[in-house]
């Protein structure tokens, strides 16, 4: 068991190293002038030269690389070329906002997607199954950015039910200031008992969560269905049925156990997709998270910022996958099939 975990961790570190190195060298090979960006559009040649020295771009590539690795170990992601502030600081402010969306949407997707998947599998090839499958394939076939726009136009512009964008009402922020404890706004508002703010935060989060949820929902129900179908064809289930054990008990006591183990993999996967979808939709909702951050950095070619977000996402993925793998490996009842989708 430990051998397995150590091996997984080692692979994780290796992947991180490859990601760090490739993004670094990629960012230096690409013909662009970070120094120009640093000093602004109307800069003179001398100002650009000075900026090169300031940014360490005058040194040879390998020494830049070594310094970069050293800085990373210290948690220093470098300075954003556009905002002139440490990337680590900007990430620290943005990450909780994104995680709030991702976590809530995955939980909701799971709570809705799992029953749909189970129901579909049990009633295979009935009209419910077709409908359930159609919905779950449907939601993963819609472009998330389009879903975001359509939800906005329906619930906010036309019906006026929900706020259009943003995380929190500004005036409320002035009258009921929120103390920063964990950095997670919703959690902080609960801890401090700031209910007006909490309600406002929830209202602002509904549309982005619905958007992010749609893809994860489809993923969860699809995979639950196919895994459950597979399990229901296993010998021990057939045997249980043959013994005349009630169908309800067969499914919810025997079959579901086997499904839940593998479903953690699904959870990891949908959290992953939700995270990457924030890259596309946060800008639509003016949500102050890493998604808005990277979509702007990409347009401005702000390499330290792009690399910072990439590294954060990589670490998240590796940890998610690791946890899923370990849970699966810990459960002796489960034959782990890699690439279960």
């Amino acid at each position: 068991m430990w051998k397995f975990i150590i091996r997984r961790v080692a692979i994780g570190i290796f992947i991180l190293f490859v990601v760090v190195s490739t993004t670094f060298f990629f960012s230096r090979i690409v013909p662009s002038e970070p120094a120009q960006k640093w000093v602004g559009a109307h800069a003179t040649e001398e100002q650009i030269e000075a900026a090169k020295i300031e940014l360490g771009l005058d040194k040879p590539l390998y020494s830049q690389y070594i310094k970069y690795l050293g800085d990373l170990l210290k948690g220093d992601f470098g300075m954003s070329i556009v905002s002139h502030r440490p990337v680590s600081l900007e990430l620290k402010n943005a990450i909780p906002n994104t995680l709030e969306l991702v976590i809530l949407s995955v939980i909701l997707a799971f709570a809705i997607g799992l029953p749909i998947g189970v129901y579909s599998a049990i009633h295979e090839n009935t009209i419910f199954d077709h409908l359930g499958r159609f919905i779950s394939v449907g939601v993963i076939s819609m472009p998330t950015f389009w879903v975001a726009l359509m939800l906005q136009i329906i619930f906010s512009t036309k019906l006026g039910l929900l706020p259009l964008t943003g995380q929190m009402d500004t005036i409320l922020k002035l009258t009921n200031p929120l103390d920063k404890i964990t950095g997670f706004a919703m959690l902080d508002s609960v801890i401090t008992g700031n209910w007006r703010v909490f309600k406002d935060l929830i209202l602002h989060a509904i549309l982005p969560i619905l958007t992010l949820m749609s893809y994860s929902l489809g993923l969860t129900s699809r995979m639950t269905r196919s895994i459950l179908l597979e399990v229901l064809n296993e010998d021990y289930i057939r045997a249980s049925r043959a013994y005349g054990i009630k169908e309800r008990i067969v499914i919810w006591k025997y079959a579901i156990k086997n499904v839940l183990g593998t479903v953690t993999t699904v959870l990891a996967l949908s959290a992953g997709y939700a995270l990457v979808n924030t890259f596309v939709i946060e800008a639509v909702f003016s949500w102050p998270g890493i998604g808005s951050y990277i979509s702007r950095s990409v347009i401005n070619l702000d390499y330290p910022a792009i690399i910072g977000v990439t590294l954060f996402a990589s670490v998240s993925y590796i940890i998610l996958n690791l946890i899923a793998d370990i849970i699966v490996a810990l459960d002796p009842r489960i034959r782990f099939v890699k690439g279960g989708d």
Partner: protein
């Protein structure tokens, strides 16, 4: 020579028969059937875009300022955009672009994946280990994320988007090909060829390669939807197609500025993406059902 030709014909006939059985099996499911027909229709639309679209010139970018922002009407079924172009025509030409770039992307991914997969599966050992660890790196992330990062480094253009997506996608195929090669390698006919001392390359190309093709084609058709979505997402955030290319994601990206007064401008291209991707995904599900006996068995 003629004997060879005969064998070829027999083989071909067998293949076609198998294909027919397969299609019949596939179309047994109604949803899959509808999806299949939709895809055929989309392909026809893409090929005959200049003849099908009501305003082919506008579909390709010609402006028509007198008629900007017309809501849907009999003259312009999907309305017109900010430069007066017929959105239906743009969307029809967009079908062409989406289908072509997703096909090119997958072909490109295969071009990368095929040699690596064959090598890893056939050679094994250290080579296999290295190639598989590299695919591990890629497979740890959703393709869209890899594509965004790569495209941002390459700079925004349709070509670069295709490259970025292909780079994000090849590891999946490498894995499939490798697994296939490994199972075929152990088959008696390959072992026999090995024993009689047939050249390694001949075995690889004439025995192993043909047998990897069908699983790869099936996987590729299942991936079309995902690739189209990824390409549209890249264009939407400004890393893909450039104006006036009628790429769906790009159209929506432009349209969102006008979403309050011109809902049709973003609604219809979005609907087109939805229908196309849905059809490919349903078809992919159909494939899976036919090929994965575990889920087919009742």
């Amino acid at each position: 020579m003629s004997k060879n030709k005969n064998i070829f014909l027999i083989k071909l006939k067998r293949r076609l028969e198998a294909l027919w059985v397969f299609i019949k099996l596939l179309l047994k499911n109604k949803l899959t059937g509808i999806a299949f027909i939709t895809i055929v229709l989309l392909t026809v639309t893409a090929i005959f875009a200049p003849w099908i679209s009501p305003y082919p010139d506008q579909g390709q970018g010609q402006v028509n300022l007198e008629e900007k922002f017309q809501p849907p009407s009999t003259k312009h079924i999907f309305g017109t955009d900010e430069l007066g172009r017929d959105i239906l025509s743009r969307v029809i030409f967009g079908t062409r672009i989406s289908l072509v770039i997703s096909t090119i992307t997958i072909v490109l991914a295969l071009v990368i994946a095929l040699p690596l997969g064959l090598l890893a599966g056939y050679h094994g050992g250290m080579v296999d280990e290295i190639i598989m660890r590299i695919t591990d790196v890629f497979l740890s992330f959703p393709p869209l994320m890899i594509a965004i990062v790569i495209a941002s480094f390459l700079g925004p253009s349709l070509t670069n988007a295709v490259i970025a997506i292909a780079v994000a996608w090849w590891p999946w195929y490498t894995r499939i090909i490798r697994a296939q090669v490994m199972s075929i390698r152990e088959k008696p006919f390959v072992k026999a060829s090995n024993c009689i001392g047939t050249n390694k390359w001949v075995i690889l190309l004439s025995h192993i390669l043909p047998n990897t093709i069908s699983p790869v084609i099936i996987q590729a058709s299942m991936d079309m939807g995902g690739v189209i979505l990824t390409a549209a997402s890249l264009s939407f955030i400004g890393l893909g197609a450039q104006a006036p290319t009628p790429e769906w994601g790009l159209i929506i990206s432009t349209a969102r500025t006008y979403i309050i007064d011109a809902w049709w401008y973003s609604a219809f291209p979005g609907l087109m993406i939805f229908i196309t991707v849905l059809s490919f995904n349903l078809l992919g599900d159909g494939f899976r059902e036919v090929f994965d006996p575990r889920t087919r068995v009742r």
